[in-house]
């Protein structure tokens, strides 16, 4: 047992740090660190910088551009990326559909999609959740019917993040209505320009337009757009959701945010006192930091343990999701505490949350309440915290 890192591991960390802090576009990092939303162009640019370095898809198979990094290397890669304010490569592409295609799709589909997916030449969005199928995803009702050599899709998806930018969508469809819930589902790819696909943006309470409803009305796609085998889509979805278990805690991101909060609290004043000198504030900040430090150590332990599991996700990663989401939410409360009355001003924005372009109060004020509102989602999506507790209860405690 040794918590210190090997010289090789440290060298890798330094390489990450150098690349992310010195070679990555500064302006994009600034926006992320300041809590601002990125435009489509910025997201694409950032993603391609990573891909050019070969770092957009490190966990893909090596033949498709993956790396043979150790768990510690992954940890540093993510931690340094998040701490530097470098946006993660687009998850829909690199953590979701990409690995599924690489693992289960035909060689033709791989060739057709993987390089373009890795480079964000195709922007994917995720067609999983439905109005009646959120945490209980398997009860989804969007169906795909085989007609000749096509699939015809009818139904509705929701909570489709950034669909406004997407070129393609991967859709879970019911292809056998007679089978048991999980067994009649298939995983199908569709071009967003296909006739019959329409999009309705959903405005979220932070003022942003990140999520959408997607309607499928007699949407015809070629049969080869089915990934893998028919009616095996649930397995692929589970595989997909099991990926990215370690990044889910967003420890590096919370570190960066706490650092920022510390800086801002040293600038902002109440009367003549700095916010950071308020004992109650510093106590809350400290306890969040301690909790995050514990989570970082827990993440390292889960990461280390992953080696022995042959790719099966460790149910302990549910701890990361639980604690990680709560800590992210706590940091947004701290930011509001720094801001005080200037949490109030609101400005809608097309691409994200109420940015205060007019600059009322301190310049960082405008993001504080929207961040708080927006971050309520992190304990709901990706398997709500209640679902995570169910997983731990069943898989670890044996209930």
């Amino acid at each position: 047992m040794d918590l210190s890192f090997t010289p090789e591991e440290l060298a890798f960390r330094d390489e990450c740090r150098k690349f992310f802090r010195e070679e990555f576009p500064e302006a994009i990092r600034r926006k992320v660190l300041d809590g601002q939303h990125l435009s489509k162009d910025e997201i694409v640019t950032a993603h391609r910088v990573l891909n050019a370095k070969g770092w957009a898809t490190p966990h893909w198979p090596v033949e498709w551009g993956g790396k043979t990094w150790s768990a510690v290397q992954y940890y540093f890669y993510q931690d340094e990326m998040q701490q530097a304010g470098v946006p993660s490569p687009l998850a829909f592409n690199t953590s979701m559909v990409g690995p599924v295609i690489a693992q289960f799709a035909s060689e033709d589909i791989k060739k057709r999609f993987l390089p373009a997916t890795a480079n964000l030449d195709i922007w994917w969005c995720q067609g999983f959740s439905e109005p009646g199928a959120g945490s209980d995803l398997a009860s989804l009702r969007t169906k795909a019917e085989k007609r000749g050599n096509t699939w015809v899709i009818n139904g509705q998806k929701t909570w489709t993040t950034l669909a406004q930018h997407a070129d393609w969508i991967f859709v879970l469809c019911r292809t056998d209505a007679t089978a048991k819930k999980q067994e009649g589902i298939s995983f199908i790819l569709a071009d967003m320009k296909t006739p019959g696909i329409t999009r309705r943006p959903i405005q979220t309470i932070d003022g942003g337009h990140e999520v959408n409803e997607i309607f499928f009305d007699e949407v015809v796609v070629p049969e080869e757009n089915l990934v893998g085998e028919v009616n095996k889509g649930w397995d692929y979805a589970k595989f997909l959701l099991g990926n990215e278990r370690t990044g889910i805690a967003r420890v590096g991101f919370s570190k960066a945010r706490l650092k920022k909060i510390r800086e801002l609290a040293a600038l902002e004043r109440v009367g003549e006192q700095r916010v950071i000198d308020d004992p109650k504030f510093i106590e809350k900040l400290t306890s969040t930091e301690i909790r995050l430090k514990a989570l970082e150590m827990t993440q390292l332990r889960v990461v280390a343990n992953d080696r022995g599991r042959g790719g099966r996700p460790d149910p302990a990663s549910s701890i990361l999701k639980l604690e990680g989401s709560v800590i992210q939410q706590l940091t947004t409360e701290l930011l509001m505490d720094v801001v005080g009355p200037y949490v109030m001003p609101f400005a809608e924005s097309d691409e994200g949350s109420g940015r205060n372009e007019m600059g009322w109060g301190p310049e960082y004020a405008a993001q504080s309440a929207p961040a708080y509102f927006n971050n309520r989602k992190v304990s709901i999506y990706g398997g709500s915290n209640e679902i995570q507790r169910n997983i731990i209860a069943k898989a670890i405690l044996g209930f």
């Binding site: 959740s129 009646g132 959120g134 945490s135 209980d136 009860s139 929701t158 909570w159 959903i202 405005q203 979220t204 309470i205 003022g207 902002e268 004043r269 109440v270 009367g271 003549e272 308020d278 109650k280 504030f281 509001m336 505490d337 005080g340 009355p341 200037y342 949490v343 109030m344 001003p345 609101f346 400005a347 109420g354 007019m358 009322w360 109060g361 309440a369 929207p370 708080y372 509102f373 309520r376 989602k377 304990s379 709901i380 999506y381 709500s384 915290n385 209640e386 507790r389």
Partner: protein, 378 residues
């Protein structure tokens, strides 16, 4: 001791509740939000007609002689309806300050205007770093003959973009934090030297940044150097009022969560059948009832004669309201799931308003520290 409403109070409550139910459905509210300044002149006229705008004023001044209990009833309804009209800034703060500090003459002239819905007010008090300290005033008022000239900047002034008259705290003497030397000045919002930049706020209401460059005040309320005590009194009354508003919000959040749980199905059954969600909604309910109790406590504290006791008790109430409100708001969103994250659904709007009320007039830390300093509550 009697927790029952009197007949008049019951009547008032019923008529306000009916107005809110009839006119403040979620869609109607959305339309009102789109009006200039984000509130409805038409609705305001109805409030006046119903007597709400003069509710706490003496009958001699066009009011109905209502006390803190009547205000509580109206504010709770305002919370339940997520009402956007500037009742708090105009009637509670504006009217309250005129009652507390104005001359009999001023009261006779100005209060009926409010009661009849002719004038709205805003209380321009917060400054860039003053937070929740009413005595932290850097805006100045200098005498020029019989007139007062105001210079300075005020922050996040509730309803400051549509108010006809601003009541401005300004310093006529003393240093930045001195309790003496603060006056309450009436400034016409359209006066020369007044620059108002309005904006919508996170909760659907509006506020403004206001700059005074040699702006001439119309009048001063009471002693130009002794306004702080009245400001503190009215701030305490306003705090009691928003405690009641918050209870209205919490009530709606709790009820909508329970209702949603009974209809939403997952894994083949209503989610209300999951014991874990039941217990969490029970904890919301307990938090709501504790908040309701402290809202009543604050209501009675508002007419407490000793300022130290009044202020301590109302701060204690605000702490409970904030704690309950944060808990209920966060759980309301969590138990609803995604739908409460959307602007299309009502729950998220309650959550947003509640979040702003947590900060308004002092956050939890501030009030907890005040209670701690004041000594035992018992």
């Amino acid at each position: 001791m009697d927790f029952d409403l009197s007949d008049d109070q019951r009547l008032l409550k019923d008529s306000v509740d009916r107005l809110i139910a009839d006119r403040y459905a979620f869609d109607s509210r959305k339309k009102i939000m789109a009006e200039p300044g984000g509130w409805s002149r038409d609705m305001w006229a109805q409030f006046a007609e119903l007597g709400l705008l003069g509710l706490p004023f003496p009958e001699a001044q066009g009011g109905f002689g209502g006390g803190p209990v009547e205000t509580m009833l109206v504010m709770e309804a305002i919370g339940r309806g997520l009402v956007l009209e500037p009742f708090l800034p105009t009637v509670i703060l504006g009217g309250g300050l005129i009652q507390a500090a104005g001359s009999p003459e001023q009261q006779k002239t100005l209060l009926p205007q409010i009661a009849q819905g002719k004038k709205t007010y805003a209380f321009a008090q917060v400054e860039r770093s003053s937070r929740y300290n009413l005595a932290d005033v850097q805006t100045t008022a200098k005498q020029d003959g019989s007139a007062w000239i105001i210079n300075g900047e005020k922050s996040v002034v509730m309803a400051g973009d549509t108010a006809d008259t601003l009541i401005v705290t300004a310093r006529t003497a003393g240093g930045r934090f001195d309790r003496g030397g603060i006056g309450l000045f009436l400034v016409n919002a359209k006066a020369q030297g007044v620059t108002i930049q309005g904006y919508p706020t996170q909760d659907g209401t509006h506020a403004a940044e206001i700059r005074f460059d040699n702006a001439r005040a119309e009048a001063v309320l009471g002693d130009p150097a002794g306004g702080l005590a009245a400001a503190e009194l009215v701030m305490d009354q306003a705090m009691a009022a928003i405690c009641a508003e918050a209870v209205g919000l919490m009530h709606e959040m709790h009820v909508s969560t329970v209702d949603y749980m009974k209809t939403r199905k997952q894994f083949g059954r209503a989610i209300s059948e999951f014991q874990v969600l039941q217990h969490r909604s029970v904890d919301m309910f307990v938090a709501l009832e504790q908040a309701r109790s402290m809202s009543i406590f604050a209501t009675f504290a508002a007419s407490e004669t000793d300022p130290a006791t009044r202020s301590r008790n109302i701060s204690a109430a605000k702490v409970q309201i904030n704690n309950s409100g944060k808990h209920i708001g966060q759980e309301c969103v969590q138990l609803h799931g995604g739908i409460a994250m959307t602007m299309e659904y009502k729950a998220g709007h309650y959550f947003k308003r509640m979040t702003m009320l947590e900060q308004l007039f002092g956050d939890t830390n501030t009030h907890q520290a005040k209670v701690a300093k004041a000594g035992s509550l018992f």
